[in-house]
Amino acid sequence: MQNPYLPYPVRIEEIITETEDKNLKTFKLVFLNPDDQEKFLYKAGQFAELSVAGKGEVPIGIASSPSEKGYLMFTINKVGLVTTTLHCMKPGDIMGIRGPLGNSYPWDILKGKNVVIIGGGFAFTTLRSAIVYMLDPVNRPNFKKIHVIYGARSPGMLLYKDELAAWEARDDINMHITVDSTEDPTWKYNVGFVPTITEQKAPPGNEDTYAIICGPPIMIKFTQPVLDRLGYCHDKIIMSLEMRMKCGIGMCGRCNIGKEFVCKDGPVFTLAQLNEMPKEY
């Protein structure tokens, strides 16, 4: 019987400090046993439990894309016990990973569609995975127009700055990067909150257009009416939720919303699905 609680051993290959407040770091992890890597087949939108021996586990969205081979990438905000320990670790250290867990963005449904990605703050991690996946030359023909609206408090708080710049330069993806405010005279992108930029830049909703939205509750709260005005049906608005988790496999009982377990039946739900569920998240 395969033990779903037993993490695969991994080594930290590289740690990149992402933001000016140094609270977000990206970890590149490599499997100690190549066989484990073969087993870890994931899709953009899934998450994993990162395990630190002696401290515990944390559920973290997978920031790398299945099209990037040989390593996994996670971007971690320093919050409490386990994430603070992770921030103190160094390349070469051994840790563990369980997964992939949860459903993913609905790639079968998104095929052949326009995709509008709306992200705020550090919830951009699995959205990065989605973007890199769609831009992979093998996959790009499977999608129509791709729009990305991504905002952070200030330029220094944006994740994956080099990649953002590279995507800006491409013509097969429409980037709309924004910051709440900035005094930086060299800033050449948008200034304004994500809902406002969405109103200005997002294409109107139709049968062929899906929005994937991840961000802090306040951003979601104000972006949703904008999408309504733009004509997005609720089954075309896709969201990823966060709950406190332990097992990640629907057994420990804590991450439910109604009868759904966010760890197993989610974390990705359409707004139409969420409308039918209790407002308890």
């Binding site: 395969q2 021996a53 406190r244 919303i257 209790p278």
Partner: protein
């Protein structure tokens, strides 16, 4: 199904024989109550009880259980790599479990043995166990098993059903596991007592005076019940002590924690409870179930609606009555179940 007659004078001898090949667990007097515990040599289960104070769930699913272990010493090979802890899954038998408590394991099994994931700890200990039930000739006032999907002589979840018939037990064999056990004990006097057991069963069922109504739960909408106006009132007196979930044979929620001692450590799981605010507290400080009312609602909605909808086979409650007897503020699941079952959304027209 075969029925074996066990004269009480052969009881102790048979049990001692079993101890050669099984680990035995049974109810014993523990201060003023009964609880299940491992039976030592020459120790007998004490059947002079209605039901144990705690459910026997800990025999399969210990309150604290080591799952994994690891070395933190960087000089050792495989340091920081988790491995499964060695466990004793040799065969064992629970003697004298009440039919409701045994059927509770079947409800819990749906959580731990799923098509996608198998919890190896729960499944291995469940599979290593033979369940010898003790039929309830005298149900208590708080027992509502017959309307909660089982009953005082219920057989699903058992390998043998023992019926106390005065100077002897009638042992009804329910599975091959049960048959093997009786053989190992040397009890082999076949008897024809189907009718006697059937009569005793009907008498016992007739003594049950307490019921829940669950027939309409399935048809209600989750959101309607969730938003029903009675939750504040239901939860008003609850002090969130967690007694109800602790004693419940069908509550399975757990927490996972690491503990390190010097240079080695373990990952363990501990029973947890939806009644505790920490259960759902995010690292950010946000808590989707921060109020007492939300937690009480979760407990009842899980047992009486979410479970019903998820598995389409009744409520997540077997009617043992422990939470009713032990709740310090007299919150009664029967009353809440009936409220939920009879709740109709008020259609307001203006």
């Amino acid at each position: 199904m075969k029925i074996i007659r066990i004269d009480k004078k052969n009881w102790a001898g048979g049990l001692e024989k079993l101890k050669g090949s099984y680990r035995l667990f049974g109810p014993v007097k523990d201060n003023e109550f009964h609880n299940f515990k491992r039976l030592d040599k020459d120790e007998l289960p004490d059947f002079n009880y209605f039901n144990t104070r705690l459910s026997p769930k800990s025999i399969i699913y210990p309150q604290s259980e080591i799952m994994l272990e690891y070395e933190l010493d960087e000089n050792k090979e495989n340091h920081h790599v988790m491995k499964e802890s060695k466990k004793d899954y040799s065969q064992r038998v629970v003697i004298g479990i009440r039919p409701c408590d045994a059927s509770a394991f079947l409800l819990v099994k749906r959580n731990f043995d799923t098509p996608e994931y198998k919890d190896p700890y729960w499944i291995r200990s469940y599979e290593a166990t033979t369940f010898v039930g003790l039929a309830c000739n005298n149900p208590q006032a708080t027992c509502f098993c017959t309307s909660a999907g089982c009953g005082p002589f219920y057989e699903d979840g058992l390998d043998v059903l023992l019926v106390d018939a005065g100077d002897h037990f009638l042992a009804k064999i329910i599975s091959s596991k049960g048959e093997n056990l009786l053989e190992a004990a040397g009890w082999d006097t076949e008897t024809d007592a189907d009718e006697q057991i059937e009569t005793m069963k009907q008498e016992a069922e007739a003594r049950i005076t307490s019921f829940v109504t669950t027939n309409k739960l399935k048809d209600k909408k989750i959101i309607d019940l969730f938003d029903a106006p009675f939750w504040e009132e239901v939860a008003f007196a609850c002090i969130n002590c967690g007694t109800c979930t602790y004693v419940c044979p069908t509550c399975w929620c757990f927490d996972i924690q690491d503990e390190a001692y010097g240079l080695c450590g373990i990952r363990m799981r501990n029973w947890d409870s939806c009644m505790f605010p920490l259960f759902t507290l995010h690292g950010s400080g946000h808590n989707p179930r921060s109020t007492n009312m939300q937690r009480v609602r979760q407990r009842f909605m899980h047992k009486l609606k979410y479970y019903v909808d998820k598995y389409n086979d009744g409520i997540q409650c077997v009617g043992c009555g422990r939470c009713i007897r032990l709740c310090p503020v007299n919150i009664d699941i029967r009353k809440i179940c009936n409220m939920m079952n009879s709740y109709e959304v008020q259609v307001t027209s203006d």
